[in-house]
């Protein structure tokens, strides 16, 4: 049935209207902990100009942001901060993990560095590279916008179905074996060898 519409009025779905607004005005929260942060700054600066895609309003309060950009390696001491920032961001919110370190720990496979933020917070988009070029981050932001337009709903139904962790289980089996091996290496020479107990036995830190 044809409906006559007055001038300047068009019909759309509420979801599509919300996605259109959300995807074109993303406010990033720059969580820049290392060298990738410099590239993030370059992306926002005049040469690459993130503003062309509506995402130039970097806010340093998580309560005003809806796109978390984790740029750089995250260490054990920083992860509770990152999680807190994520929880403080209002819905709807998305997360870009930028660079090899944020995605997987990168070359920093040591006791203090978290091996990928996706083990502990949800991640929507991974940007490979060490560091990724600004163009690559721009591509990720554009892809993020496309994803929001593709999957977004007004009430955030696309979020509530994601109830399993996005990354590998924090303590997957090979990691367990590796740590066992490391602890089994027999050390000679001095009597009291292994002293640290490790934290595995404990419940989660608060």
């Amino acid at each position: 049935m044809a409906v006559g519409l007055p001038e300047n009025i068009f019909i759309t779905k509420l979801d599509a209207a919300a996605n259109w607004a959300r995807s074109n005005s993303m406010w990033p929260m720059p969580f820049a902990t290392a060298c990738c942060g410099i590239e993030l700054m370059a992306t926002a600066a005049s040469r690459h100009d993130l503003a062309r895609f509506g995402a130039e309003v970097m806010r340093f309060s998580p309560r005003q942001c809806d796109l978390l950009i984790v740029a750089g390696r995250v260490v054990m001491k920083m992860l509770p901060v990152l999680q807190r920032i994520w929880l403080q961001m209002p819905e709807p919110k998305w997360c870009i993990s930028m660079g090899a370190c944020a995605c997987s720990g990168g070359v920093f496979d040591t006791y203090a560095v978290v091996q990928g933020v996706d083990r502990f917070i949800p991640v929507d988009m991974y940007v490979p590279g060490c560091p990724p070029r600004p163009e690559q981050l721009l591509a990720a932001v554009i892809e993020m916008q496309a994803k929001v337009r593709r999957t977004g709903t007004v009430m955030g139904r696309e979020f509530t179905i994601r109830d399993t962790p996005d990354g590998p289980t924090p303590f997957d089996q090979d990691e367990r074996y590796r740590i066992q091996d490391a602890n089994l290496i027999q050390l000679g020479g001095f009597s009291a060898a292994a002293t640290g107990k490790g934290l595995q036995g404990r419940s989660n830190r608060g």
Binding site: W86, L87, A192, T195
Partner: protein, 163 residues
């Protein structure tokens, strides 16, 4: 330059000297290290503590002690440098703090405590400096695995629907 014989006559014969690439080092016993350092500061003009760090000698060929604690001193008037080393061992590696001599030793001793588990008696605030408070290993000890014992995985997981 402060001659070894001068130091030995002042602080006792237990001091030995060695040179490596123009760096002059004296080895002293852990019991007398505080007295020697305060003497070096007060009488020999070593007014600045450049660095304070430690070495783990586990599995090192010919090593007799588990840890060395190293003090790098500088005489600000003559430019002379001197490295003072002392040895400590498990199970309770412990030294007197030099915070009362050089305030700069504050964080250096905290770092050595954090990384090697060597405690310094008399330090005003001996907490971990780099690692989280609840971390209970000493990562720069040679018997600690590089990839840790799983501490880096022990965090709550936040899923998308749960946040």
């Amino acid at each position: 330059m402060v001659e070894l014989s001068v130091l030995q006559s002042r602080f006792g014969a237990g001091i030995t000297e060695s040179v490596f690439r123009d760096n002059r080092r004296i080895d002293v016993s852990s019991g007398s290290v505080f007295e020697i350092l305060s003497g070096l500061k007060a009488e020999f003009g070593f007014s600045m503590l450049i660095d304070l760090t430690a070495v783990d000698w586990l599995e090192y060929e010919g090593a007799t002690d588990r840890f060395s604690v190293v003090y790098l001193l500088l005489n600000m008037d003559t430019g002379e440098r001197l490295i003072v080393r002392t040895a400590v061992n498990l199970p309770d590696p412990c030294l007197p703090s030099v915070y009362s001599l050089w305030r700069g030793a504050d964080w250096m001793e905290r770092e050595v405590f954090d990384m090697f588990g060597i405690s310094f008696t008399g330090h005003p605030d001996l907490r971990r400096l780099l690692m989280p408070e609840e971390f209970d290993a000493y990562p720069l000890r040679k018997d600690y695995p590089l990839k840790g014992r799983g501490e880096r995985h022990n965090f709550p997981v936040i899923t998308r629907s749960g946040s």
